[in-house]
């Protein structure tokens, strides 16, 4: 009459005014059975599984982010440590250089002092030597000059100055006068 289904004969024929709002008991039983089976498999087994998987995924992602952050913090710490160490090393080097410079300066000053002292000593020694030599020369000369002068004087004046003590006194006086004159002249 109409529709393939009807011609196949699956629909009931000429049902008297069926009320579509009245439920079929057998269908209710099948319906609740089918739904409870679905509820069991999905609600009891499968939904909890996917919820767990989603949670684990969240954890994994959060964990990954956390681990990355930790690694970055660790790297930062190491970098800071290296920088601190580097700064310390630089400071240490500067300190050592400064110390060396000071020590160098000190050594130079000491050496200079020593050299000056040595030079002074040498000069002093030389002066003393010169003084001693002069004194010696003077003493020798004094004796010789005295003798020569007396001899000369004796010859010049013809006078015998045999009296030793008088002669010595005269010569010494003369020499002292000479010395005084020389000192006054100097």
């Amino acid at each position: 009459m109409f529709l393939a289904e009807h011609t196949v004969g699956l629909l009931a024929e000429n049902t008297e005014n069926p009320n579509p709002l009245l439920p079929d008991v057998a269908e209710m039983v099948v319906g609740i059975f089918a739904f409870l089976v679905v509820l069991f498999f999905l609600g009891k087994i499968l939904v909890p599984r996917i919820q767990k998987a989603l949670e684990e995924r969240t954890d994994a992602i959060e964990g990954g982010i956390k681990r990355a952050e930790e690694a970055q913090a660790e790297a930062q710490r190491t970098l800071e440590q290296y920088q601190t160490q580097l700064a310390e090393a630089r400071q240490e080097a500067a300190r050592i250089r400064e110390e060396a410079r000071e020590q160098g300066a000190q050594i130079i000053a000491e050496l200079r002092d020593q050299a000056q002292a040595e030079a002074q000593r040498v000069i002093d020694q030389a002066h003393a030597q010169i003084d001693a030599d002069r004194q010696l020369a003077f003493t020798q000369l004094r004796a010789e000059i005295g003798q020569l002068a007396v001899e000369l004087a004796g010859r010049v004046v013809g006078e015998s100055l045999e009296d030793e003590s008088r002669r010595r006194g005269t010569v010494d006086r003369f020499l002292d006068e000479l010395e005084d004159r020389a000192r006054a002249g100097a």
Partner: protein
């Protein structure tokens, strides 16, 4: 007689008997007809799909698990969370089976050879609505107490005293009697009407292009075929919307049981 009357002389529009099926076979006293078989088929399809998707879920999803997750997250975010909020996660165990059992049941309307929405037989939406209604009562009494539930459901706070004389009976009847009825009937009636519409246009096409081809009726028959296709597309949309509404309302009723929402 006018042209439409001449045309439609032998045409018989599908009626209520469109939903009355002959028993295919009997198991003891139970006559098994097509809607029951389809209902069991829906059961198998839903369980099989989610078994394939979630039986061994991976942290990094592959293949059908991706699709399953989209389905799960859609139900959770669009139907669970709007009313249940933080409780949604726990109630997904009911809402996911509910949505897919209803939706695939509706989808049977357009699957070749099935071509019948399971939920256009009132028995199927009714048992689901009753199940949700019982859940509402159990959750409500557990969380608010019997009288607490009655009071919270029927007495919205901060109303003038006089109004309570009107509001209490209305809210009482609405919440405890009309709700489960409308919950089931909304789904049933949509699927029922949708099936009649598709059947009507299909019958028009079949009648005027096959059973009784006339020059005048040819255009009507073509129109019937075109509208059958259009209505099928529209029904695809309605089927999903009704499954969505049914599940959303279930979430809303459960949330009303969990806490006073006024």
């Amino acid at each position: 007689m006018s042209a439409p009357h001449v045309l439609a002389k032998d045409f018989e529009a599908p009626g209520l008997w469109l939903f009355q099926w002959k028993p295919l076979f009997h198991i003891g006293p139970v006559a098994v007809a097509k809607p029951m078989v389809l209902s069991l088929l829906v059961m198998v399809i839903v369980v099989a799909f989610f078994w394939a998707a979630f039986a061994k879920p991976k942290i990094v999803p592959r293949g059908v698990q991706n699709l399953g997750e989209v389905a799960y997250i859609f139900v959770r975010d669009e139907m669970g969370r709007p009313f249940l909020g933080k409780d949604a996660e726990k109630w997904m165990r009911l809402l996911v089976p509910l949505f897919f059992f209803v939706w695939i049941g509706n989808l049977m309307s357009v699957i070749p050879f099935a071509q019948f929405p399971v939920n256009s037989r009132i028995a199927f939406p009714m048992v689901l609505a009753v199940l949700v209604y019982v859940t509402f009562w159990v959750v409500g009494v557990k969380n608010q107490g019997f009288f607490g539930l009655l009071k919270n459901a029927t007495m919205p706070p901060d109303l003038p005293v006089a109004l309570y004389f009107i509001v209490i009976p209305i809210e009482f009847v609405s919440t405890f009697f009309i709700r489960p009825f409308t919950h089931a009937v909304r789904l049933f009636a949509n699927m029922f009407a949708g099936h009649i519409l598709i059947a009507l246009f299909a019958t028009v096409g079949f009648h005027f292009l096959w059973e009784k081809v006339t020059p005048l009726g040819f255009g009507v028959g073509v129109l019937g075929v075109v509208l059958t296709i259009a209505m099928t597309a529209f029904e695809l949309f309605i089927q999903a919307v009704q499954a969505y509404v049914f599940t959303l309302l279930a979430a809303f009723y459960i949330s009303a049981g969990l806490h006073a929402d006024h």
